[in-house]
């Protein structure tokens, strides 16, 4: 079964059409990369999937594990197993990472009819995931993303993903801002999560990430449409030639 099925999706922000008819199917267990020039609509697609309310869907249908994703609120989509790693993670002053993440996990457990975890059950889980991502323990007690470096924020997104164990993870430029060692660590964390019943969408500009997390498919999004799909070799080609050769009109947009 497809984890995600997007059919003819059109979306607007402030009455301006950004997504102009996206069709995309992602089977369970696969990793798909989405590449494309700046401003082409990649983050918009991620936000629409995560049900951000300021992004208006004009047309189309999206099925997530067979359910109508567009009818869900952000928290319902999350509780159904959709996770988005933000291109720009948000800071929440005064709330510790550990407290926040436990509240989030318990909200999702409640949705699934499971008992909440108390701090004693939760902290070992968090600790294990932080070790996997080689994040210092003191980040548990720090306020969510407050004062984190750019790379720390990105790594923290992946810690959250590892704790929440989503069915579909959409990672929006998680590689940007990471140093070379951090990139390897994050890739290891993401690879550890690959499984037959989980799908991953990697939004990225660089082949570098795809050296470590080898995708099953690569899609090129340009001007609100997917204009080409292929195997991992497509990303290599893009790396060498830019976007101009697939869409000459975009020659200057890379």
């Amino acid at each position: 079964m497809n984890m995600l099925e997007i059919r003819n999706l059109h979306a607007r922000i402030d009455n301006q059409e950004i997504l102009k008819g996206i069709d995309l199917a992602i089977p369970a267990g696969e990793v798909h990369a989405i590449m494309g020039p700046n401003g082409s609509g990649k983050s918009t697609l991620a936000h629409v999937l995560a049900r951000r309310e300021s992004y208006e869907v004009a047309e189309g249908q999206v099925l997530f594990q067979g359910k109508d994703l567009l009818a869900m609120k952000p928290e319902e989509a999350a509780c159904e197993g959709l996770f988005m790693a933000f291109q720009y993670p948000v800071e929440v002053a005064g709330i510790s990472n550990a407290y926040f993440l436990r509240a989030a996990l318990n909200a999702q457990r409640k949705y699934r009819g499971e008992d909440p975890l108390d701090a004693i059950d939760f902290l070992p889980i968090l600790k294990a995931k932080m070790e996997l991502l080689e994040m210092d323990e003191r980040f548990q007690g720090r306020s969510v993303n407050e004062g984190f470096s750019g790379g720390e924020k990105k790594r923290n997104e992946i810690v959250q993903m590892a704790v929440l164990e989503p069915r579909l993870a959409v990672l929006d430029e998680t590689d940007s801002g990471l140093d070379i060692d951090a990139l390897k660590i994050v890739a290891r964390g993401v690879n550890a999560m690959r499984s037959p019943d989980r799908s991953i969408v990697l939004i990225t500009h660089y082949q570098r990430l795809l050296d470590y997390i080898v995708p099953d498919y690569v899609h090129v999004l340009a001007n609100g449409r997917i204009i080409r799909s292929g195997g991992p070799e497509l990303a290599l080609e893009l790396e060498n030639k830019g976007y101009g050769w697939i869409a000459p009109a975009l020659a200057g947009a890379q």
Binding site: E53, E75, A78, M84, V90, G94, L105
Partner: protein, 484 residues
């Protein structure tokens, strides 16, 4: 749904404490003159010094009233208050010498239990003694006997006047004289009850002391007075909670609190104020005009105010500390929330007189709906206050774009060695923040309440445990319907 709708929805939840209790009340006629004062004093069987003091206060107040000297400097607006239209004394009828709770009107007990306050000692959490003030009088005080073993006196103000007149005479008005301001004068003239606590030398009060104020009767003002004295090396932690029924008319609450800390004594005073704030259109609600002040009389003494203000149509309140003793410490931690048409003008005064005195002010204002939130703070360093230090932090959080936040810091330094730090910030709850938390599985309500709890953390951690939980719940309830 837009972000501001969500915030709006969260903030507009109904006030849950708005019920009215049917009790037989002993009320005096509306209106205020010297006879009213005499009548109140007679009803309370007070010694002569009390009546004299009340009459002096009344005459002072009446002269201010005639001169139209009601304060107008605060950033609040309300129609003129008709002081002759208020009932100044209203008390549930009860037997004069109640020996036990069995003799308290069951309706009154029921009202407290609806509010989650059990006056039955066996059912209480062991750590908190409660004085329950219903309209004009104290109806019960718990754990008196247990406290007395340590020499701690905790009783209603009326009882203190009868049993400990020497202490009352010595300290009443010593921190907030009746001439202090318009509302303090009114309170001194007509106050009917309140709480009194006295902690003797070297005693650490073994439990939290608390007063729960409930306004019930219509057209009634509540004018209570609290006096807490902690002798050398003693310690007391005092909690205050308040609610009132929903009524369409505004009701006046003008309280006075005086705290006195001697050498090495510490007083921690916490308030969770949840008077009826009025409805969504701004009708009704309590006018909360309160004078609270502590005096660090002794060296190395410390007074700490923590307040969470979510209720009242109008709040006018500046808990202050006069730092007289050398090395004394004053603290003010405040969260003030205004939603719908609520107005709050609140802050503190720290008056440094002794050497090496230190004060900390952390004020958090949250405005939603059409709420107007003003921080007004004064820090005064007197000539003799060598080595004084103050740290002030004022943060405002805006929810929606029809509310307002205002900050008026007044700083006066007469000693060059003073060190002052001031930080201020204003932020808005962003749609991006709410979306981030919702993306992780939290509802919009949970997201907003988490952001607000984070914003208030520095204040909440100063509250006693149970109160902190209570305060968090209260904030999310008070904001229900205001998130967008």
């Amino acid at each position: 749904m837009t972000t501001s709708n969500t915030i709006q929805d969260i903030a507009s939840q109904e006030y849950k404490w708005g019920f009215i209790t049917e009790v037989d009340e002993d009320r005096i006629p509306k209106g205020l003159n010297e006879d009213t004062i005499r009548l109140i004093s007679t009803k309370k069987n007070e010694p002569g010094f009390m009546l004299d003091w009340r009459l002096k206060a009344y005459r002072h107040w009446a002269s201010l009233e005639r001169a139209h000297a009601e304060p107008t400097w605060a950033h609040i607006k309300h129609p003129p208050i008709d002081y002759q239209g208020i009932t100044y004394y209203s008390a549930p009828k009860q037997k004069p010498n109640r020996k036990s709770l069995d003799e308290v009107d069951p309706e009154v007990l029921e009202a407290y239990s609806k509010l989650g306050i059990s006056l039955n000692e066996q059912k209480r959490l062991a750590g908190v003694a409660v004085d329950a003030v219903f309209d004009s009088v104290s109806v019960a005080t718990t754990f008196k006997a247990k406290l007395a073993e340590k020499g701690v006196i905790f009783c209603s103000f009326s009882e203190a006047v009868q049993k400990h007149p020497d202490l009352v005479k010595k300290y009443l008005g010593s921190v907030v004289p009746y001439s202090d301001n318009f509302f303090a004068a009114l309170n001194a003239a007509v106050f009917s009850d309140g709480s009194f606590a006295y902690v003797p030398k070297g005693v650490r009060c073994p439990m939290e002391l608390s007063t729960y104020f409930r306004i019930n009767a219509a057209d009634t003002g509540q004018f209570e007075r609290t006096l807490i004295v902690v002798e050398e090396g003693g310690y007391a932690s005092y909690l205050e909670g308040c609610t009132a029924p929903k009524r369409d008319e505004n009701q006046l609450h003008a309280a006075v609190v005086e705290l006195i800390a001697l050498d090495n004594a510490q007083i921690k005073y916490s308030t969770v104020q949840n008077w009826y704030p009025g409805d969504k259109e701004g009708n009704g609600g309590i006018y909360n005009f309160v004078t609270k002040r502590g005096k660090c009389l002794g060296n190395n003494s410390k007074i700490s105010w923590t307040q969470v203000e979510t209720g009242s149509a109008i709040t006018w309140k500046y808990p202050s500390v006069i730092l007289m003793g050398d090395n004394s410490v004053g603290e003010f931690y405040s969260v003030a929330l205004t939603n719908n048409y609520q107005q709050a003008d609140t802050g503190t005064k720290m008056i440094h007189m002794g050497k090496n005195t230190k004060s900390t002010i952390i004020a958090k204002g949250i405005s939603a709906g059409h709420g107007q939130n003003t921080y007004r703070g004064q820090v005064k360093i007197m000539k003799g206050a060598t080595g004084a230090r103050n740290y002030t932090q004022c943060d405002s959080l805006l929810i929606g774009d029809q509310c307002g936040a205002h900050t008026f810091p007044y700083i006066e330094v007469r000693n060059g060695s003073a060190r002052m730090e001031h930080e201020a910030s204003t932020s808005k709850i962003g749609e991006d923040q709410i979306f981030y938390l919702r993306q992780r599985g939290l509802s919009a309500e949970e997201a907003v309440s988490m952001i607000i709890n984070g914003f208030c953390k520095q204040v909440f951690r100063e509250l006693p445990m149970e109160f902190a939980v209570e305060a968090q719940k209260l904030l999310s309830v008070s904001l229900e319907g205001s998130v967008g």
